[in-house]
Symmetry: C2
Subunit: 398 residues, 2 copies
């Protein structure tokens, strides 16, 4: 039978990351292409204790249907935590627990955009979000990213000249893939522009707690006195991604529509996972866990940058130093064929990196960049991978 | 700020069930309005043992990111299980693990329907699926349901006269809300019509394992030599709904598109829950668990029907006897205002039932029916609830 697929799905290309992942499955390949937390980042013992305790004391709560809005204790705790810690959440806001932050992106596009409406995004940006917006028929308008965040002039221009913009999607902290953090000045400028044009902001902040150096900057949502920011948080990088638990702080009126969408998507998020997140945050010292993660990743980030300086930078490749997050963004010299470079790196030299084109708003656009992840591989693998990359670059660019 | 919502979400009405649920939260109300498994249906001890074992032996597998397609062991097991037990799955099919069966419905609409395309569904049908199709801009064409399933003449007519029908949505076993099971003859007729018109079938089978009497009938997917049936299964009613794990057996070509959609929805299903389902099915006697559930629910179903016969049928209300599932479907005498009856039942007489209009494809349609669930309340509550219903009906219809 000849199947008929919807236009929104037909036009979606399989992610370039998945192509690379196919090669990365080869055990000889060192993968710098993932975005996973380090295996030693998980508090497996504590999470196991929590699960045992839940099954010993109130298993039915973890097994029965629950409410779409989320485990009430976790919602209440996160409402309080986000307000106290980050000044996020006003009287007009509410909290919804979701199946990872990915679902927040899905619901934003479903609830806010008709097919053909526009989403403005940093260019490059997280491919999972971009593809998700596309899968609901939204169009993307990219705004270039600079070392201090989105180019504000280009944003103003995009807002002025793009029809039916429904929201601006931004990852202000340690952006994926570029590693860039938006300056405080730009956060305010972005907020003011969104307000001026009556456009919402979707602030995606999976990495905010993973700052290794420099000062924390306030989240855009903390300025939000006008009900124009949807904040997206995640437990994936600070507890465990396999649990698939995220949370949004958003104006109640929007949150109610998200609940309607979520009922149709998965009824509610796995309740055991929500209970685990709640217990983990309240029973153990969550700050100490964050401090542990920052020490772990900070060391790995510095190790990766030192290796790049030693083996890769001398070949003419540059990278943006980072203050947090999971990724390093490298740029090839002009004239080098980036796609060919990434493909040869994995096929011939057994090191997997992600081509920059994967992250573009315009799928036909070009890029001189590639992304490296330093959290997933062991130190040994990381060193081996960056050495291979350097050796290959020396040949390819020499 | 005045928010702009997408047309697909704006037109979606809050579910009438949720309205009833608001009243049902009153502790004085006996709720016959839910669709939950009985609390004593859960193998909580075994599931707790499995979770403890996973955390003791391979916790990182349960905490790290996983693949979108599903936990490989569970996928492989279900492929085999569905083939062996139900003759479901051909060389052209594949298995995808999902975040509950609800997500399968969401992906079917997203992948197969453009906005404005039609889905044919039994009328009445499961509101969660209908609202989910609506939330992706699909239009619904209802086909009346008869005591032996969908009216085949009306289906033929709908297929002939409705533009852009993308699939036929059916719950052949113990349908929600009607309790009706489709006859073998009609299953074949439905398959033949779908084939003739080149339209897919989405077979939703959450209750198939919960047959209390009569002979099991083959699933429509077991006839599928043409790659036109998407089978939807769920662990919600046979292990635990809080886990949110479902599975689909569908033509690989369609399944691949679903994977693309799922990446944008939640990346993958909670991996601990998938591991629990796999271990539960392979480590314990799953057939014995099904037999236990059938005994439990069969007794409760008979108890509920006996109570209806005693207290409710004498007032002029009729119901369809069932051979399985979780629901009883009752019909009020002509001329009675059904919505008013349901509202007065909960507000004045503290018994919550679900108005039949909640399940209609045409939200403006009328119904003389209401739905009763007998699995969630205790025997005591069930008796009290049906007594209240009878006492009220005696006044209201007397």
């Amino acid at each position: 039978m000849q199947y008929h697929f919807s236009d929104r799905i037909s036009t979606l290309k399989p992610s370039a990351i998945r192509e690379i992942f196919k090669y990365a499955a080869d055990p000889e390949v060192v993968s710098l292409s993932a975005g996973n937390p380090a295996p030693d980042a998980f508090a497996a013992k504590q999470i196991g204790e929590i699960a045992a305790d839940i099954f010993a004391t109130h298993p039915i709560d973890a097994l029965q249907y629950s409410v779409t809005e989320g485990y009430p204790k976790l919602r209440a705790f996160m409402r309080d935590y986000m307000k106290t810690r980050h000044n996020i959440g006003r009287a007009f806001d509410d909290v919804l627990i979701t199946s990872g932050a990915q679902q927040i992106m899905e619901m934003c596009a479903k609830v806010l955009c008709n097919e053909g409406d526009y989403v403005i995004a940093e260019d490059p940006s997280f491919i999972g979000s971009l593809n998700c917006f596309r899968s609901l028929g939204a169009q993307l308008k990219g705004v270039p990213i600079e070392p201090d965040g989105m180019c504000i002039e280009a944003l103003a221009d995009a807002l002025e000249n793009t029809p039916n913009v429904r929201f601006i999607y931004t990852i202000p902290n340690f952006q994926n893939p570029s590693g860039v953090t938006m300056s405080l000045e730009k956060r305010h400028a972005l907020y003011d522009l969104a307000k001026k044009y009556g456009v919402l902001i979707v602030e995606d902040n999976p990495y905010g707690d993973l700052r290794y150096s420099g000062e924390n900057l306030p989240n855009i949502k903390s300025f939000d006195e006008d009900g124009i920011v949807i904040y997206s948080g995640s437990f994936s990088k600070v507890i465990a991604p396999g649990l698939r638990v995220g949370y949004t702080v958003a104006p109640s009126e929007i949150m109610k529509k998200m609940v309607v969408a979520k009922q149709g998507e998965d009824v509610h998020t796995n309740i055991l996972a929500q209970m685990i997140c709640y217990e983990f945050m309240t029973r153990y010292d969550f700050d100490e866990n964050l401090a542990f993660l920052r020490r772990l990743y900070s060391r790995k980030a510095q190790f990766a940058m030192d290796l790049l300086d030693k083996y890769v930078v001398p070949t003419g490749i540059t990278y943006l130093p980072i203050q947090g997050g999971l990724f390093l963004w490298c740029t090839l010299p002009d004239g080098v064929d980036m796609a060919d470079f990434c493909k040869r790196a994995v096929v011939e030299h057994k090191v997997a990196i992600v081509p920059g084109t994967a992250f573009l708003c315009d799928e036909k656009g070009s890029s001189q960049c590639f992304r490296i992840n330093f959290t997933t591989p062991s130190d040994e693998k990381l060193e081996e991978g960056i050495k291979r990359l350097g050796a290959f670059a020396k040949i390819a660019l020499g």
